[in-house]
């Protein structure tokens, strides 16, 4: 496995370098981009030719000064997509490098995420008040990234609940998510030595209907008066009904979603909200799973590269040097 992994990684790296160095048509690409812009350079663009340009030349913007020769024969490689090809290979290589580092046990740092630091406090409060915790995994099925992240966070919340001997209630909209959640909670409670606290009836299926689910969760909030509500996963229009009811019952609310249109309601009605990517990072932050950790780190490095390109590109653009066409 390790061998195969290494081969793929080195392969990607070599392919990436090869692609960047021998990109036969950086100039032709510029020509294409210019003609798309419809600017005065159209004529130049039509004359632009396939001159081999090294990656340094590309970054210097020298490739735009194309000269001589004829339009490159496209061959088997669609030269129009050279920048995307380079980006794909580079990103793949970065990602695999960090996944490998994480697997080999190298410690990787992740910053503190406020909403998750509060989990302890929130569970502790429920214990003090002798009230349960409510956890909603959102509406999406198991294969969605947000639901996977939610289930990861659920495991950690369940551990804390076990340590503090607090009851965890979880109404579900999807039967598969429900079975996975039951397993995760049972395992978490067993790990902290409290398998006796597990009650399958507390992690139950309600209904597929969106509003039926919202009504069921709100009913539970009104009846059981949980001290802490977790709304973590992908939510739709029901988010505002849930957040409003939880707010009215006076519970501490921790929300996390990658659904842009629902975030305003969570931000205003909840005490802590994990915004978009923070939700994915949050699940890594709590679970410390090497594979997820490595991937997150890889994405961060890619983000750093993009930031450098963005700032350098902006400075060059101020002085009239446009590196835009090299970005696809």
């Amino acid at each position: 496995m390790r061998m195969a992994f290494r081969t793929v990684w080195y392969g990607l790296l070599v392919a990436c370098l090869a692609c960047a160095w021998s990109a036969p048509s950086a100039a032709a690409h510029v020509a294409h981009a210019d003609s798309l812009d419809g600017g005065a350079q159209e004529a130049e663009g039509a004359e632009a030719q396939g001159v081999s340009a090294s990656s340094e030349e590309v970054l210097d913007g020298a490739g735009s000064e194309a000269e001589g020769g004829e339009t490159p024969s496209t061959g088997w490689f669609d030269t129009e997509h050279t920048p995307t090809a380079v980006a794909t290979l580079l990103f793949g290589a970065i990602l695999l490098f960090f996944i490998r580092s994480a697997r080999s046990g190298k410690p990787l740092f992740i910053r503190r995420i406020a909403g998750l630091e509060a989990v302890d406090e929130a569970v502790g409060r429920a214990t003090e008040m002798g009230r349960p915790i409510l956890y909603s995994p959102g509406l999406d099925p198991m294969e969605e990234v947000a639901t996977v992240a939610s289930i990861n966070i659920l495991g950690q919340v369940a551990r804390k609940a076990g340590e503090y001997e607090t009851r965890l209630i979880m109404p579900n909209r999807d039967p598969i998510v429900m079975t996975v959640a039951q397993e995760v909670v049972r395992e978490a409670l067993t790990q902290v030595g409290r398998p006796d606290l597990y009650n399958a009836d507390d992690i139950y299926y309600t209904t597929q209907s969106q509003f039926g689910y919202a009504a069921a969760v709100c009913g539970t909030m009104m009846r059981e008066r949980p001290a802490t509500n977790f709304f973590i996963g992908h939510f739709y229009a029901e988010s505002l009904i849930l957040a409003e009811t939880g707010n009215a019952t006076g519970a501490i609310q921790i929300a996390g979603t990658d659904s842009d249109s629902q975030l305003p309601f969570f931000i205003c009605a909840c005490d802590y909200t994990l915004i978009g990517e923070e939700l994915y990072a949050g699940s890594v932050y709590l679970s410390r799973e090497p594979l997820l950790l490595g991937a997150l780190k890889g994405q961060d490095v890619a983000k750093a590269v993009l930031l450098v390109v963005l700032i350098a590109g902006a400075i060059l653009a101020f002085f009239g040097i446009d590196i835009g066409p090299y970005l696809g």
Binding site: S261, G276, L306, L310, A314, D322, G328
Partner: protein
Amino acid sequence: MWEQAGIVVGALVTLAIFSLLYKDNPLYRFAESLLVGVSAGYYLVQYCFSAIYRKFYIPVIGEGDLWLLPGGILGLLILLRLSRRVQWMSRYAIAFYVAAWSGYLIPSVLQERILIQIRSTFPPSLAEASIWAVLGSLFLLVGVVSILVYFFFSAEHRGALGRISQVGITFLMVGFGASFGYTVMGRVSLLIGRFQYLFQDLPQALSF
């Protein structure tokens, strides 16, 4: 005749759903259950026509294009999910579906959602653009950079990084404010549609 009757029926079921606003009641639950059944039936018919008849029966049986046969086989494998013993075989179909999607997602997302977005954030040249255009694009640049810093998880947000990410969260909040405004707008429009039905379409149909 059927058209008028339909509009009256439509108005009645509309009122049944609106009755939830007062409180949950059997009428609403009846309407909701009917909606689930009727829509599932409607969808099933469309799925069968488009997936089985048009994408499989016509090309494979009708035109003898055997290249489309594997699609049907993979589709049958999906049905094996219903049996616990051979459920594992459906993994081939799921792996096919998810991996194919991933395959064309990678380059297209990198190009359209990342590279082009970065490119479009570059400001115009100082020499060519007006001062307002340059200031506007600078503002945009600061926003995008600070938000990317906010979503950077590999370093603690202290010092300069902390201050930049604070700027990022400020931009995010204004963005969410805009989303909130538009969300309200969307929801209100949906209600307007229903009221137009009740106050304009219905009287028109009845006055016939």
